[in-house]
Point group: C2
Chain length 82, copies 2
């Protein structure tokens, strides 16, 4: 059994209006030192297999088919034995 | 200048219908080994200060006031010197 964390972010070349809005809200609250806010998604899940390689294969497949839109988003993941 | 990654997740006691939907979609695609999917948010930003302690204070404030709903969500963060 493995525990997985997948982080999905918009590609850096793509404008992030949600991040801009959050940044603007923070500047309104006088948190002026915070900049370049970008918002992404994080997925936590478990994979029921005993082999690390199989877990990695499942995560790659899930990332490409479900977790991300590969045209607009990048992903990174961490796999940890439970 | 510091680079920050904040991960915001729903508290474990709170039902995550978005995660359930993603999990269901994956099982429909025969990815049956993946379970317990939960979806959260990730914020990347930079903090324009030279002191680590000040950066930490800013992140804590941003987490409590903007990034999370402290009633329903938990957060964790990583601060890295740029």
């Amino acid at each position: 059994m493995f525990k997985v964390e997948v982080i999905v972010t918009l590609r850096t070349s793509i404008l992030d209006p949600q991040g801009k809005t959050v940044e603007h809200a923070m500047h309104s609250l006088r948190m002026n030192t915070i900049n370049n806010v970008r918002v992404g998604k994080v997925f936590h899940c478990t994979i029921n297999t005993s082999s690390y390689d199989e877990a990695k294969k499942s995560v790659e497949e899930a990332c490409k088919k479900v977790f991300t839109n590969p045209v607009m988003e990048d992903y990174s993941y961490k796999i940890e034995k439970m």
